[in-house]
Symmetry: C2
Protein backbone atom coordinates (compact mmCIF):
# COMPACT_ATOMS: atom_id res chain seq x y z
CA UNK A 1 0.00 0.00 0.00
CA UNK A 2 2.78 2.39 1.00
CA UNK A 3 4.75 1.64 -2.16
CA UNK A 4 1.70 2.11 -4.36
CA UNK A 5 0.99 5.43 -2.76
CA UNK A 6 4.57 6.66 -3.17
CA UNK A 7 4.56 5.57 -6.78
CA UNK A 8 1.33 7.46 -7.38
CA UNK A 9 2.60 10.59 -5.69
CA UNK A 10 5.82 10.49 -7.70
CA UNK A 11 4.04 9.70 -10.96
CA UNK A 12 1.66 12.67 -10.49
CA UNK A 13 4.67 14.82 -9.66
CA UNK A 14 6.57 13.64 -12.73
CA UNK A 15 3.68 14.57 -15.02
CA UNK A 16 3.59 18.09 -13.58
CA UNK A 17 7.39 18.27 -13.84
CA UNK A 18 7.26 17.36 -17.53
CA UNK A 19 4.76 20.18 -18.13
CA UNK A 20 7.04 22.63 -16.29
CA UNK A 21 10.00 21.47 -18.39
CA UNK A 22 8.05 21.97 -21.63
CA UNK A 23 7.23 25.51 -20.53
CA UNK A 24 10.86 26.24 -19.58
CA UNK A 25 12.04 24.90 -22.94
CA UNK A 26 9.45 26.96 -24.85
CA UNK A 27 10.67 30.18 -23.24
CA UNK A 28 14.33 29.09 -23.45
CA UNK A 29 14.72 29.50 -19.71
CA UNK A 30 17.54 27.52 -18.04
CA UNK A 31 16.27 26.16 -14.72
CA UNK A 32 18.50 25.09 -11.80
CA UNK A 33 17.10 23.37 -8.68
CA UNK A 34 19.31 24.31 -5.70
CA UNK A 35 19.16 22.02 -2.65
CA UNK A 36 20.97 21.86 0.71
CA UNK A 37 20.65 21.52 4.49
CA UNK A 38 19.15 24.48 6.33
CA UNK A 39 21.74 27.23 6.66
CA UNK A 40 24.25 25.96 4.08
CA UNK A 41 24.14 29.38 2.43
CA UNK A 42 21.89 28.93 -0.62
CA UNK A 43 20.33 32.38 -0.41
CA UNK A 44 23.60 34.24 0.16
CA UNK A 45 25.07 32.37 -2.80
CA UNK A 46 22.07 33.29 -4.96
CA UNK A 47 22.36 36.94 -3.87
CA UNK A 48 25.97 36.99 -5.09
CA UNK A 49 24.99 35.13 -8.26
CA UNK A 50 22.18 37.55 -9.12
CA UNK A 51 24.45 40.51 -8.35
CA UNK A 52 27.13 39.16 -10.73
CA UNK A 53 25.02 37.86 -13.60
CA UNK A 54 22.09 40.27 -13.75
CA UNK A 55 23.90 42.72 -16.00
CA UNK A 56 24.19 39.96 -18.62
CA UNK A 57 21.16 37.74 -18.03
CA UNK A 58 17.60 38.20 -16.82
CA UNK A 59 17.45 36.21 -13.60
CA UNK A 60 14.43 34.75 -11.79
CA UNK A 61 14.28 32.99 -8.43
CA UNK A 62 11.60 30.79 -6.87
CA UNK A 63 12.16 30.61 -3.12
CA UNK A 64 10.84 27.61 -1.18
CA UNK A 65 10.48 27.87 2.59
CA UNK A 66 8.18 26.50 5.27
CA UNK A 67 7.43 30.05 6.37
CA UNK A 68 8.34 33.76 5.83
CA UNK A 69 9.12 35.68 2.62
CA UNK A 70 12.58 36.77 3.78
CA UNK A 71 14.49 34.96 1.04
CA UNK A 72 12.41 36.27 -1.87
CA UNK A 73 12.93 39.79 -0.55
CA UNK A 74 16.69 39.24 -0.33
CA UNK A 75 17.16 38.10 -3.94
CA UNK A 76 14.64 40.65 -5.24
CA UNK A 77 16.80 43.36 -3.69
CA UNK A 78 19.67 42.11 -5.88
CA UNK A 79 17.65 42.56 -9.06
CA UNK A 80 15.94 39.21 -9.65
CA UNK A 81 12.29 38.57 -10.44
CA UNK A 82 11.37 36.52 -7.38
CA UNK A 83 8.42 34.62 -5.98
CA UNK A 84 8.11 32.99 -2.58
CA UNK A 85 6.47 29.59 -2.02
CA UNK A 86 5.55 28.76 1.58
CA UNK A 87 5.08 25.03 2.06
CA UNK A 88 3.50 25.50 5.52
CA UNK A 89 5.37 22.58 7.00
CA UNK A 90 6.04 20.63 3.79
CA UNK A 91 9.61 19.33 3.65
CA UNK A 92 10.26 19.90 -0.08
CA UNK A 93 8.94 21.68 -3.16
CA UNK A 94 7.00 19.65 -5.70
CA UNK A 95 6.34 20.27 -9.40
CA UNK A 96 2.79 21.53 -8.81
CA UNK A 97 3.90 24.17 -6.31
CA UNK A 98 6.45 25.34 -8.86
CA UNK A 99 3.84 25.32 -11.63
CA UNK A 100 1.50 27.45 -9.54
CA UNK A 101 4.24 29.93 -8.65
CA UNK A 102 5.10 30.36 -12.35
CA UNK A 103 1.86 32.33 -12.73
CA UNK A 104 3.60 35.11 -10.84
CA UNK A 105 6.69 35.12 -13.06
CA UNK A 106 7.10 36.21 -16.66
CA UNK A 107 9.23 33.35 -18.03
CA UNK A 108 9.51 35.11 -21.40
CA UNK A 109 11.64 37.67 -19.58
CA UNK A 110 13.80 35.20 -17.63
CA UNK A 111 16.95 33.62 -19.09
CA UNK A 112 18.02 31.75 -15.96
CA UNK A 113 15.66 30.63 -13.19
CA UNK A 114 16.95 29.33 -9.87
CA UNK A 115 14.61 27.30 -7.68
CA UNK A 116 15.81 27.42 -4.09
CA UNK A 117 14.33 24.34 -2.47
CA UNK A 118 13.37 23.94 1.20
CA UNK A 119 16.46 23.49 3.41
CA UNK A 120 16.52 19.71 3.75
CA UNK A 121 19.13 17.14 2.75
CA UNK A 122 16.58 14.33 2.39
CA UNK A 123 13.13 14.99 0.92
CA UNK A 124 13.84 17.36 -2.02
CA UNK A 125 16.11 14.85 -3.76
CA UNK A 126 13.25 12.61 -4.92
CA UNK A 127 11.10 15.29 -6.57
CA UNK A 128 11.63 16.37 -10.16
CA UNK A 129 10.54 20.01 -10.54
CA UNK A 130 11.11 20.13 -14.30
CA UNK A 131 14.58 21.67 -13.85
CA UNK A 132 17.46 21.17 -16.28
CA UNK A 133 20.03 20.79 -13.51
CA UNK A 134 20.01 19.72 -9.87
CA UNK A 135 22.77 21.04 -7.65
CA UNK A 136 23.56 20.72 -3.95
CA UNK A 137 25.19 23.27 -1.67
CA UNK A 138 27.17 21.61 1.15
CA UNK A 139 28.85 23.81 3.74
CA UNK A 140 32.12 23.21 5.57
CA UNK A 141 30.62 23.46 9.11
CA UNK A 142 28.24 20.56 8.36
CA UNK A 143 31.22 18.24 8.60
CA UNK A 144 32.98 15.64 6.52
CA UNK A 145 30.45 12.81 6.91
CA UNK A 146 27.45 14.25 5.07
CA UNK A 147 28.06 12.73 1.62
CA UNK A 148 28.13 9.08 2.84
CA UNK A 149 25.36 9.76 5.37
CA UNK A 150 22.92 11.34 2.88
CA UNK A 151 23.72 9.33 -0.26
CA UNK A 152 20.33 9.76 -1.99
CA UNK A 153 20.89 13.51 -2.25
CA UNK A 154 24.46 13.33 -3.51
CA UNK A 155 23.82 10.46 -5.94
CA UNK A 156 21.30 12.59 -7.83
CA UNK A 157 23.23 15.82 -8.24
CA UNK A 158 25.67 16.80 -10.95
CA UNK A 159 27.34 19.63 -9.06
CA UNK A 160 28.18 20.18 -5.40
CA UNK A 161 29.07 23.70 -4.32
CA UNK A 162 31.21 23.34 -1.18
CA UNK A 163 30.39 26.62 0.56
CA UNK A 164 31.81 28.56 3.55
CA UNK A 165 35.38 27.79 2.56
CA UNK A 166 36.35 30.82 4.69
CA UNK A 167 35.59 28.70 7.80
CA UNK A 168 38.02 25.92 6.80
CA UNK A 169 40.79 27.14 9.18
CA UNK A 170 38.45 26.75 12.17
CA UNK A 171 36.97 23.34 11.31
CA UNK A 172 38.08 19.71 11.08
CA UNK A 173 37.09 19.36 7.43
CA UNK A 174 39.12 17.80 4.64
CA UNK A 175 38.18 18.94 1.13
CA UNK A 176 39.99 16.04 -0.57
CA UNK A 177 38.03 13.51 1.50
CA UNK A 178 34.78 15.19 0.48
CA UNK A 179 35.82 15.05 -3.19
CA UNK A 180 36.70 11.35 -2.88
CA UNK A 181 33.42 10.54 -1.08
CA UNK A 182 31.47 12.30 -3.81
CA UNK A 183 33.39 10.55 -6.61
CA UNK A 184 32.76 7.19 -4.92
CA UNK A 185 28.96 7.45 -5.01
CA UNK A 186 28.60 9.72 -8.03
CA UNK A 187 31.57 9.60 -10.43
CA UNK A 188 29.97 11.99 -12.94
CA UNK A 189 29.51 14.82 -10.49
CA UNK A 190 31.77 17.77 -9.87
CA UNK A 191 32.64 19.75 -6.71
CA UNK A 192 33.46 23.47 -6.62
CA UNK A 193 34.82 24.72 -3.25
CA UNK A 194 33.87 28.38 -2.72
CA UNK A 195 32.83 31.04 -0.25
CA UNK A 196 29.83 33.26 -0.92
CA UNK A 197 31.18 35.52 1.84
CA UNK A 198 34.76 36.11 0.62
CA UNK A 199 33.83 35.38 -3.04
CA UNK A 200 36.66 32.82 -3.38
CA UNK A 201 35.76 30.26 -6.06
CA UNK A 202 32.67 32.10 -7.27
CA UNK A 203 34.14 32.61 -10.77
CA UNK A 204 34.14 28.86 -11.38
CA UNK A 205 30.45 28.65 -10.35
CA UNK A 206 29.53 31.59 -12.60
CA UNK A 207 31.36 29.92 -15.51
CA UNK A 208 29.47 26.70 -14.86
CA UNK A 209 26.15 28.59 -15.07
CA UNK A 210 27.14 30.37 -18.29
CA UNK A 211 28.25 27.04 -19.81
CA UNK A 212 24.98 25.41 -18.80
CA UNK A 213 23.00 28.30 -20.32
CA UNK A 214 24.85 28.07 -23.65
CA UNK A 215 24.40 24.30 -23.70
CA UNK A 216 20.68 24.72 -22.97
CA UNK A 217 20.28 27.15 -25.89
CA UNK A 218 22.19 24.78 -28.20
CA UNK A 219 19.96 21.84 -27.29
CA UNK A 220 16.79 23.88 -27.82
CA UNK A 221 17.77 25.08 -31.29
CA UNK B 1 -7.85 11.88 1.10
CA UNK B 2 -4.41 13.31 1.88
CA UNK B 3 -5.56 14.56 5.29
CA UNK B 4 -7.13 11.19 6.16
CA UNK B 5 -3.95 9.40 5.24
CA UNK B 6 -1.74 11.71 7.30
CA UNK B 7 -4.09 11.34 10.25
CA UNK B 8 -3.89 7.56 9.94
CA UNK B 9 -0.10 7.56 9.72
CA UNK B 10 0.17 9.83 12.77
CA UNK B 11 -2.44 7.89 14.71
CA UNK B 12 -0.62 4.58 14.08
CA UNK B 13 2.62 6.28 15.09
CA UNK B 14 1.08 7.68 18.26
CA UNK B 15 -0.12 4.24 19.34
CA UNK B 16 3.40 2.83 18.90
CA UNK B 17 4.82 5.88 20.73
CA UNK B 18 2.52 5.26 23.69
CA UNK B 19 3.75 1.66 23.90
CA UNK B 20 7.37 2.87 23.81
CA UNK B 21 6.62 5.39 26.57
CA UNK B 22 5.06 2.70 28.74
CA UNK B 23 8.18 0.58 28.32
CA UNK B 24 10.47 3.53 29.14
CA UNK B 25 8.43 4.30 32.25
CA UNK B 26 8.47 0.68 33.39
CA UNK B 27 12.25 0.56 33.25
CA UNK B 28 12.56 4.12 34.66
CA UNK B 29 14.56 5.18 31.61
CA UNK B 30 14.58 8.92 30.80
CA UNK B 31 14.32 9.34 27.02
CA UNK B 32 15.37 12.46 25.10
CA UNK B 33 14.69 12.90 21.35
CA UNK B 34 17.47 15.05 19.85
CA UNK B 35 16.71 16.79 16.53
CA UNK B 36 18.58 19.22 14.26
CA UNK B 37 19.68 20.07 10.73
CA UNK B 38 22.39 17.84 9.24
CA UNK B 39 25.76 18.80 10.70
CA UNK B 40 24.56 20.87 13.66
CA UNK B 41 26.74 18.72 15.89
CA UNK B 42 24.33 16.29 17.56
CA UNK B 43 26.75 13.37 17.62
CA UNK B 44 29.73 15.37 18.92
CA UNK B 45 27.49 16.76 21.64
CA UNK B 46 26.33 13.25 22.55
CA UNK B 47 29.93 12.02 22.61
CA UNK B 48 30.77 14.72 25.17
CA UNK B 49 27.59 13.98 27.11
CA UNK B 50 28.27 10.24 27.31
CA UNK B 51 31.88 10.95 28.29
CA UNK B 52 30.76 13.24 31.14
CA UNK B 53 27.75 11.36 32.49
CA UNK B 54 28.67 7.69 32.03
CA UNK B 55 30.48 7.47 35.37
CA UNK B 56 27.21 8.40 37.10
CA UNK B 57 24.48 7.05 34.79
CA UNK B 58 24.08 4.14 32.39
CA UNK B 59 23.63 5.78 29.00
CA UNK B 60 22.05 4.41 25.83
CA UNK B 61 21.86 5.98 22.37
CA UNK B 62 19.67 5.17 19.37
CA UNK B 63 21.22 6.67 16.24
CA UNK B 64 19.00 7.49 13.27
CA UNK B 65 20.61 7.99 9.87
CA UNK B 66 19.72 7.37 6.24
CA UNK B 67 22.88 5.31 5.85
CA UNK B 68 26.10 4.18 7.62
CA UNK B 69 26.71 3.12 11.24
CA UNK B 70 29.33 5.81 11.88
CA UNK B 71 27.40 7.60 14.63
CA UNK B 72 26.59 4.48 16.67
CA UNK B 73 30.27 3.55 16.59
CA UNK B 74 31.23 7.05 17.77
CA UNK B 75 29.00 7.06 20.87
CA UNK B 76 29.73 3.39 21.63
CA UNK B 77 33.41 4.31 21.81
CA UNK B 78 32.51 6.78 24.59
CA UNK B 79 30.88 4.06 26.68
CA UNK B 80 27.21 4.09 25.66
CA UNK B 81 25.04 1.12 24.72
CA UNK B 82 24.22 2.10 21.15
CA UNK B 83 22.11 0.88 18.26
CA UNK B 84 21.98 2.25 14.72
CA UNK B 85 18.77 2.64 12.73
CA UNK B 86 19.19 3.16 8.99
CA UNK B 87 16.07 4.67 7.45
CA UNK B 88 17.27 3.98 3.87
CA UNK B 89 16.07 7.34 2.61
CA UNK B 90 13.39 8.02 5.22
CA UNK B 91 13.55 11.61 6.48
CA UNK B 92 12.76 10.96 10.15
CA UNK B 93 12.53 8.23 12.78
CA UNK B 94 9.10 6.92 13.73
CA UNK B 95 7.92 5.15 16.86
CA UNK B 96 7.90 1.71 15.23
CA UNK B 97 11.53 1.99 14.12
CA UNK B 98 12.44 2.94 17.69
CA UNK B 99 10.36 0.06 19.06
CA UNK B 100 12.14 -2.41 16.81
CA UNK B 101 15.58 -1.06 17.74
CA UNK B 102 14.77 -1.48 21.46
CA UNK B 103 15.09 -5.25 20.96
CA UNK B 104 18.83 -4.64 20.68
CA UNK B 105 19.08 -2.61 23.90
CA UNK B 106 18.67 -3.70 27.50
CA UNK B 107 16.50 -0.87 28.87
CA UNK B 108 16.70 -2.32 32.38
CA UNK B 109 20.36 -1.31 32.29
CA UNK B 110 19.85 2.17 30.82
CA UNK B 111 19.09 5.23 32.99
CA UNK B 112 19.14 7.82 30.21
CA UNK B 113 18.46 7.06 26.53
CA UNK B 114 19.17 9.61 23.81
CA UNK B 115 17.50 9.16 20.44
CA UNK B 116 19.48 11.02 17.79
CA UNK B 117 16.98 11.66 15.00
CA UNK B 118 17.78 11.96 11.28
CA UNK B 119 19.40 15.33 10.48
CA UNK B 120 16.37 17.27 9.26
CA UNK B 121 14.76 20.46 10.57
CA UNK B 122 11.34 19.57 9.14
CA UNK B 123 10.06 15.97 9.22
CA UNK B 124 11.13 14.70 12.68
CA UNK B 125 9.13 17.39 14.51
CA UNK B 126 5.74 15.76 13.83
CA UNK B 127 6.56 12.25 15.06
CA UNK B 128 6.21 11.27 18.71
CA UNK B 129 8.73 8.52 19.50
CA UNK B 130 7.55 8.01 23.07
CA UNK B 131 10.26 10.28 24.47
CA UNK B 132 9.90 12.33 27.65
CA UNK B 133 11.62 15.39 26.15
CA UNK B 134 12.18 16.81 22.67
CA UNK B 135 15.18 19.06 22.17
CA UNK B 136 16.68 20.79 19.14
CA UNK B 137 20.33 21.52 18.42
CA UNK B 138 20.77 24.68 16.33
CA UNK B 139 24.28 25.68 15.27
CA UNK B 140 25.68 29.18 14.83
CA UNK B 141 26.79 28.68 11.17
CA UNK B 142 23.19 27.89 10.14
CA UNK B 143 22.40 31.57 10.55
CA UNK B 144 20.01 33.78 12.46
CA UNK B 145 16.88 33.09 10.40
CA UNK B 146 16.28 29.41 11.15
CA UNK B 147 13.82 29.80 14.06
CA UNK B 148 11.28 31.92 12.12
CA UNK B 149 11.87 29.89 8.94
CA UNK B 150 11.30 26.46 10.52
CA UNK B 151 8.64 27.32 13.12
CA UNK B 152 7.08 23.84 13.39
CA UNK B 153 10.33 22.44 14.78
CA UNK B 154 10.96 25.22 17.29
CA UNK B 155 7.34 25.44 18.45
CA UNK B 156 7.46 21.84 19.61
CA UNK B 157 10.71 21.79 21.58
CA UNK B 158 11.32 22.70 25.19
CA UNK B 159 15.07 23.21 24.90
CA UNK B 160 17.30 24.57 22.15
CA UNK B 161 21.02 23.90 22.42
CA UNK B 162 22.74 26.66 20.44
CA UNK B 163 25.91 24.84 19.39
CA UNK B 164 29.26 25.86 17.80
CA UNK B 165 29.50 28.99 19.94
CA UNK B 166 33.25 28.88 19.20
CA UNK B 167 32.44 30.03 15.63
CA UNK B 168 30.58 33.15 16.80
CA UNK B 169 33.55 35.50 16.13
CA UNK B 170 33.58 34.47 12.46
CA UNK B 171 29.84 34.65 11.76
CA UNK B 172 27.09 37.24 11.52
CA UNK B 173 24.98 35.68 14.25
CA UNK B 174 23.27 37.43 17.14
CA UNK B 175 22.49 35.21 20.12
CA UNK B 176 20.02 37.70 21.63
CA UNK B 177 18.01 37.78 18.38
CA UNK B 178 17.85 33.98 18.38
CA UNK B 179 16.61 34.00 22.01
CA UNK B 180 13.96 36.60 21.17
CA UNK B 181 12.82 34.68 18.06
CA UNK B 182 12.49 31.50 20.11
CA UNK B 183 10.59 33.27 22.91
CA UNK B 184 8.22 34.79 20.34
CA UNK B 185 7.03 31.44 18.96
CA UNK B 186 7.59 29.29 22.06
CA UNK B 187 7.59 31.26 25.33
CA UNK B 188 8.01 28.13 27.50
CA UNK B 189 11.21 26.99 25.84
CA UNK B 190 14.77 27.64 26.94
CA UNK B 191 18.03 28.19 25.01
CA UNK B 192 21.49 27.12 26.17
CA UNK B 193 24.38 28.51 24.07
CA UNK B 194 27.32 26.10 24.13
CA UNK B 195 30.17 24.57 22.19
CA UNK B 196 30.70 20.81 22.12
CA UNK B 197 34.19 21.56 20.80
CA UNK B 198 35.48 23.99 23.46
CA UNK B 199 33.07 22.63 26.13
CA UNK B 200 31.80 26.16 26.95
CA UNK B 201 28.24 25.97 28.28
CA UNK B 202 28.19 22.17 28.57
CA UNK B 203 27.75 22.28 32.37
CA UNK B 204 24.35 23.92 31.97
CA UNK B 205 23.27 21.19 29.53
CA UNK B 206 24.51 18.41 31.86
CA UNK B 207 22.58 20.03 34.76
CA UNK B 208 19.46 20.15 32.61
CA UNK B 209 19.76 16.40 31.94
CA UNK B 210 20.33 15.58 35.59
CA UNK B 211 17.32 17.71 36.57
CA UNK B 212 15.18 15.99 33.93
CA UNK B 213 16.29 12.57 35.21
CA UNK B 214 15.43 13.41 38.83
CA UNK B 215 12.06 14.82 37.75
CA UNK B 216 11.36 11.67 35.71
CA UNK B 217 12.08 9.42 38.72
CA UNK B 218 9.87 11.59 40.95
CA UNK B 219 6.97 11.35 38.52
CA UNK B 220 7.32 7.57 38.22
CA UNK B 221 7.29 6.94 41.98
Amino acid sequence: MKVTLNTDVLSTNNQAADLNRELFNNTKTLVINVMSSPGAGKTTLLEETVRELSSKYRIGVIEGDLATDRDANRVRAMGAQAVQINTNGGCHLDAKMVSKSLQQLNLEKIDILFIENVGNLVCPSGYDLGQHHKIVVLSIPEGNDKIPKYPQMFMRTELVLLNKLDLLPYMDFDVETAKKDLAAINPDSRMIPLSAKTKEGLEEWFSWIEGAYQQCLEQLK
